[in-house]
Symmetry: C2
Subunit: 408 residues, 2 copies
């Protein structure tokens, strides 16, 4: 199915040129978990001394691999680390068999790579509720370990795709204390917030050194400003995983370096936007900017209410500057709002203010603006200093086709 989907009109021109990250090597293979004629498993192997941080789905029905990764976070950094990801089967809602599969795969990865099993992380993405053929993955581990190479990250990005219509990568090159440091990341998914075959998985690597505990804090904080600010359809996968590995091969410690944090934020935001740009059926990339809310938390609630509203999303799909639906979404959100203090803008066009349409508003201008592919909807609540920015896409016939017209 993934192969039959046309590439999203919002896709970047091509996969970016990612830097080689010292201390990490990649391999990918076709294990035949479910798909035929394509790779479906990737292995990343990190040198000893690598710090590993992770953020995972909060779903109460999260998958066996997610539970296993969460148990292992914060382990010793004197050993190496390995990440093994398969596509085609999510190993979610597979009962006790799910845990068995995770144990078999992590044990086998440990055996073949020499990394202790406590430092072997896995993820699975694909159909829910079918037993994972872990034997097929285990059978490929020798090949994977024998073909590890520093430049294999793009092939790794392709091996973990499911309904993605393009492979997603982003990078940054900076200096920390005068030494060059690189960050490279890959992602898959059509939502954070995604269909049962489009879990979001993100793996980011840097050759900087970074202490384990602050690396975890940094990842969680930046995740709240990037991946937790995107939404395709408000649905959340049982398998969403974001991991960050700092190998230290660049021989410079970036712990608490603000330039590093900025660069990492940029890589994460780029990947998050790419996930939205591959949203199922998406034809518009939409930034929802909330200002003037009573608090940042309220701003986020308003932003998500707008970004998840089926009526707002269908209006955008129809290139309809239907600001009444923005008013509706703010009203229903549950966060504080005062009808008579609201102002709403499409791009630079002031649409509504003081509880009514702006006297200067001309619908023809807004209709022209809505024809663009990248849209900004700004709402000022006029109440306080709270702000939030949310990124989303429109809701189109393409979404219905992908999720209703085909049987999964």
């Amino acid at each position: 199915m993934a192969k039959s989907l046309p590439v999203s009109p919002l896709a970047p021109a091509g996969f970016p040129d990612l830097p080689v990250i010292g201390g990490v090597r990649f391999a990918s293979a076709a294990a035949g978990v479910r798909y035929e004629g394509r790779t479906d498993v990737m292995l990343a192997l990190m040198d000893p001394g690598t710090s590993v941080a992770g953020v995972f789905t909060r779903s109460a029905t999260r998958s066996a691999p997610v539970l296993d990764c969460q148990d292992k976070l914060g382990g010793a950094t004197d050993a190496g680390a390995a990440i093994l990801v398969n596509s085609g089967n999510s190993n979610a809602f597979t009962g006790h068999h799910g845990q068995t599969s995770v144990e078999e795969v992590t044990k086998a990865v440990a055996n073949v790579t020499g990394v202790p099993v406590e430092r072997v992380f896995t993820a699975s993405t694909g159909v829910i509720g079918e037993p994972l053929r872990h034997d097929r993955i285990v059978a490929k581990l020798g090949d994977l370990n024998g073909t590890l190479e520093p430049g294999g990250i793009e092939r790794a990005a392709r091996a973990i795709m499911t309904t993605d219509t393009f492979a997603k990568g982003a990078a940054a090159r900076i200096e920390v204390d005068g030494k060059p440091v690189s960050i490279a990341g890959i992602a898959k998914g059509s939502g954070m917030i995604a269909p049962d075959m489009a879990t979001m998985l993100v793996y980011i690597f840097t050759d900087a050194a970074y202490d384990q505990a602050p690396l975890q804090s940094l990842l969680a904080e930046l995740s709240d400003r990037t991946f937790n600010c995107i939404t395709v359809d408000s649905d959340t996968s049982t398998s969403d995983s974001l991991m960050l590995c700092a190998t230290g091969a660049a021989e410079v410690d970036a712990t608490d370096d603000p330039g590093f944090a900025d660069a990492l934020h940029g890589v994460m935001l780029d990947l998050a936007h790419q996930v939205v740009r591959d949203g199922e059926g998406a034809t518009k990339f939409v930034e929802v900017r909330i200002t003037g809310a009573a608090s940042d938390a309220d701003a986020r609630i308003h932003g998500l209410s707008i970004a998840n509203s089926p009526l707002v999303k269908t209006a955008i799909a129809g290139e309809d500057p239907n600001w009444g639906r923005i008013v509706m979404a703010i009203g229903k959100s549950g966060a504080e709002a005062d009808r008579d203090r609201l102002s709403i803008r499409f791009g630079d066009i002031l649409v509504a203010e003081r509880g009514w349409v702006s006297p200067d508003y001309r619908e023809a201008d807004a209709a022209t603006y809505m024809k663009g592919q990248n849209l900004v909807i700004s709402v000022d609540l006029g109440l306080g200093e709270g702000t939030a920015t949310i990124w989303t896409c429109d809701l189109t016939h393409g979404y219905i086709q992908i999720n209703a017209d085909y049987r999964s």
Copy 2:
């Protein structure tokens, strides 16, 4: 636009035969608020002694008529009461002009009917953000007052339609203390929870007498079990209004009578189901039954998470027994769940239990079941005694067509 939509495939065979309710008369007219060639305003006039209760949208951006009605609830019952509703314009987000329109209309209704302005209730449904041409409504009030008749309720139901594809009515005939009592209600809307042109409005009338304060309590309680348990697309109108008038013409007091409450519940549930059955683009009517939750509140959260999930709703549209999406929706809801205690049924078919697909499950059976027009999805959490039932419809190309393909 409303007239161009085909009647929902889930519509009842026809408008029901509603009983005449003593103490209330109806009139409708074509005021030309926005639509041409159809009625767009209705007046209901209640005799002195009528108790009036109301439940309204909780939206923070609710319309001027809603704010006015809320102010007036609980007023004296020794005067009569009037309800004036127009379609075509919602008088929402119209700034101070909105309040002026409400004042002009209610004052004029009071003048022509003799009902004190404190007992004149209004509602408006239609486009948001355009000034209401209240002069056109006022100009018709003499005609309306002159054509009031006890049997006019069906025409009233038609006058308040917007994107509705069928007029909605329901009734009950019971005995209270050996005397016959009737209840008749009308509704419009494609959601509670609805597009900017499909606000939910409900008006119910009975000839029983009922004390004002307990009538308000009863309406609120039954509303939580009926209209607040339906969802079409999770969006909430700025104008949703539900009013109940007890005229006392039957000369029997039904206050706290359990049989009356049951009958009223039946009328409200019937109307609520009709709103879902007219959900935009709906082809399936779906009952989501949650049992075994940690609390009733948790059960409601799980039920709404399933009923509002775009992935669940598109799977239903595609007649796909995709139980993995049910697991996903439970997991993301935020309410308590234990993957290994869940059980899921489609109709009588046990799909999943103890964290995995049931050993007896055959997908072919479930696929056959999903072809039906009325579906029941049952989830037992296995945690406690909490229950909830939610009603919804599927998410189809029809929804996208109505909300994206046409400019409003």
